[in-house]
Amino acid sequence: MALHSVNLNELFTYCWDMIRAIRACKTAAEERAVVRKECAAIRAAINENDQDYRHRNLAKLMFIHMLGYPTHFGQMECLKLIASAGFPEKRIGYLGLMLLLDERQEVLMLVTNSLKQDLNHSNQYIVGLALCALGNICSAEMARDLAPEVERLLQFRDPNIRKKAALCSIRIIRKVPDLAENFINPTASLLKEKHHGVLITGVQLCTDLCKVSEEALEYFRKKSTDGLVKTLRDLVNSPYAPEYDIAGITDPFLHIRLLKLLRVLGQGDADASDSMNDILAQVATKTESNKNAGNAILYACVETIMSIEDNGGLRVLAINILGRFLSNRDNNIRYVALNMLMKAITVDAQAVQRHRATILECVKDSDASIRKRALELVYLLVNESNVKPLTKELIDYLEVSDQEFKGDLTAKICSIVSKLSPEKIWYIDQMLKVLSEAGNFVKDEVWHALIVVISNASDLHGYTVRALYRALQTSAEQECLVRVAVWCIGEYGDLLVNSVGMLDIEDPVTVTESDAVDIVEIAIRRDTLDLTTKAMAFIALLKLSSRFPSCSERIKDIVSQYRGSLVLELQQRSIEFNSIILKHQNIRSALVERMPVLDEATFIGKRAGAMPTSVSTPSAASINLPNGIAKPSAVPLVDLLDLSSDDAPAPSSSGGDFLQDLLGVDLLPSSNQSGINPVPQNGTDVLLDLLSIGTPPAQSSPSTPDILSSSQDNKTPVSPLEGLLSPPSQPKQAASAGAAPVVDFLDGFAANPPKPEDNGSAYPSIVAFESSALKMEFNFSKPPGNPQTTLIQATFTNLSSNNYSDFVFQAAVPKFLQLHLDPASSNTLPASGNGVVTQNLKVTNSQHGKKSIVMRVRIAYKMNNKDVLEEGQINNFPRGL
């Protein structure tokens, strides 16, 4: 055994060669080479079980570990050193244990026994080592095993052991809160000690006990508050103590820990708060504030005053201290003042508002840390009465702020504006300013929300589109500004050109149709803009091609230039849109009509619901096409069709995925909640849906009517396109054929529109009512172009063996529905199902997409000259009617 004393002083001299070699390295690669060589040597020594060099190797490993290289192979060496008898070996072993290991390592199980022995060692320095290691790495199992030892050591004769045992106890009760009650009594006696080390650790243990155990909190509140107040008073008034003196204050660290414990005890308890008022007032008024140590104490004192139960006088004192801090020239002091004011705002918002001007100045500070704190504080200070001037200040500052600060600042301004905006025009104005200044920092949901608001402000459409047009002239590099602008120009291009709805505050602007197309074209051509923006610009162009017939030819040229684009999304749009412009004049205007007003409530609901849904179904997001390119689940052509008119088919007003509809593009994975359009949920491609139209109605996908109903102008019934298209059983093949089938389909689409009557198959029939004597079935269909209306054909069947006469069917619906009943086909119903009565109903759902249809029915008839009345409620209507 190499027990002849290992000299710790010489320990690292052995490592010096290595450290010198590492220091001499000029590059990271050289350093890695040195470390690799050293590690190889250490591994070899470990394999030889070399005892003489074990501690030296471990010392080297600590250095290597600090540099960030793996050192797991040295872990067992720590255990061997800890298990050896000598103090120096143990010393370095425990240090290695704390640095190289962590509580997750299973190696720790093996060390528990050594720790237990060392905690009971006769040499108090070895006990101290074990306590320190346990305090740093103890796991829950170790805590349970070793808690009795630590508890006993809290009463050890040497204070240096007691203080370490106290901190070790904190670790134990954090790992196993159940053990807290065992520590309450020993802690109470630690609080009475004079030794600063024991006192400061005891106070910390007490604070932690109060956090994990309500019982402990009550106990210390009753038994120790007065004692702690006295301890603090003695400390504040203590004569000069050279060992603990910092800037004329005795042990500021102990001051601060005591103040923190008092805060915990005083919070929510008027009596305890009362008993500490005097000493807090004394600390707040007497502490020197020209040195950092004094300010640290004042800071802690203010925090305690703000947390404990109200005492008006003290709070004034605290707010004044914060005011002084805030005007201090030292940035550290200003930082903590801002930090503290955040907490004070819940206690006394009025007092914090008084400092608003100063805080606003801090937002513009050159120091990023101060700016960040100040911005968070300003955010809390904004209310209805000051939102306008504060927003103006922040937006003005946005122009000159650092790039790295713009993200935070933009997010906060957008949040303030959308939360507290007093009127729509102000909201739109502010958002446009933000978009122009920092459009690259605006989050998606923010500009989505802006579009929803614009859509709802019908009197401001012209104003907004003109303002956006102007903004785009100067800030064309701001991504989100471009997106909102091209969307609005696409939707409201006519208002832009004709200066419709001019407000008094506007400067007149003359925009020709060609100017409007120019600006969208620029967006498509600008390389720095991303795909989503370009895709939106494409849709805008398509819309303009209908709004501005004179530019149609030019737009066709622009669009068709991208037929060969290497970006699949653009290529596809180019081909599809080109086809619409060229060959489908008759449906184009219907396709590109202005979007219906977007529903704000649905948007907010969707935004709230969006997060969990998109997380829960990530796999549905995209499918891989055979060419290996991931195809986003967003389905451009369906969206495009959805972009139709106010009286468009269901999906556009269904709300569920209107954002997708709205933008016509959603390159991010998103799930599709709408029951009406389950296409993306199935992970299939838009092409398939287009193709599926060729299949018999019974099999057609529920999304079929979306497409069909766009062809409402064409009433000529024709046979569906069976011959032309593949059945859905081979969808992949069809899809992989690329764009050609789409074009084919569209060709067929215009020439031979399928008959709208096929729609009926979209909703399954239901048995609406059934009794022993009577059955009523409902068949549903939707008139084209009117999603709110449902046509119901009711079919009544007599299940009894008697004929019914004087048959009358009545129905009632809630207010949001309108019901129209046609006369029944007959008022007699033959027995045993030998004939039926049919009756047509028309229901208009004003809450379409939000509420389902419900209906109460009453059926009266005479059976054997006896009146029979049957009643029921129908709740099983298909969703989405």
Partner: protein
């Protein structure tokens, strides 16, 4: 728990001492140290000594070519940590006599021993320099 880690870094950004009081994997530590060092070393004298990073608040102080960085949680008193860094430096000064980067590099274990006497599990153990140094001096005498 107040202190989450203590770093000593030279002005080239090389770590000279690292003590963590919570578990991070080697990769996490390397990344964290890199980010923090970049952020803190880029700041000038006039700017405040606090930097918010991830969920840490970094309190740092520069002594000649050596930076002392202490990562704390939101509950901690930043000014007190500044004072603590100074106490740490004074303690090392008393032992090494005007401590410098090389003292810490070549006496890494001693720097750790001192730190052990001052901080355990993220809490302050002792604030008296002579109490902190007593065990180390005892060890020196024994050898």
């Amino acid at each position: 728990m107040g202190i989450r880690f203590i770093l000593m870094v030279n002005k080239q950004g090389q770590t000279r001492l690292a003590q963590y009081y919570e578990y991070l994997t080697l990769e996490e530590r390397r990344a964290l140290e890199g980010e923090i060092v970049r952020k803190c070393l880029a700041r000038n004298e006039q700017q405040c000594s606090f930097v918010e990073h991830r969920n840490y608040k970094i309190v740092y102080r520069r002594y000649a070519s050596l930076f002392f960085l202490v990562g704390v949680d939101n509950e901690e008193n930043e000014l007190a940590i500044l004072e603590f860094i100074h106490l740490l430096v004074e303690t090392m000064d008393r032992h090494f006599g005007n401590v410098c980067e090389l003292d810490i590099m070549f006496h890494l274990e001693k720097a750790h021993f001192m730190l052990e006497e001052m901080v355990m599990n993220g809490c302050v153990v002792e604030t008296s320099k002579s109490n902190i140094l007593a065990p180390i001096q005892l060890m020196d005498k024994a050898s």
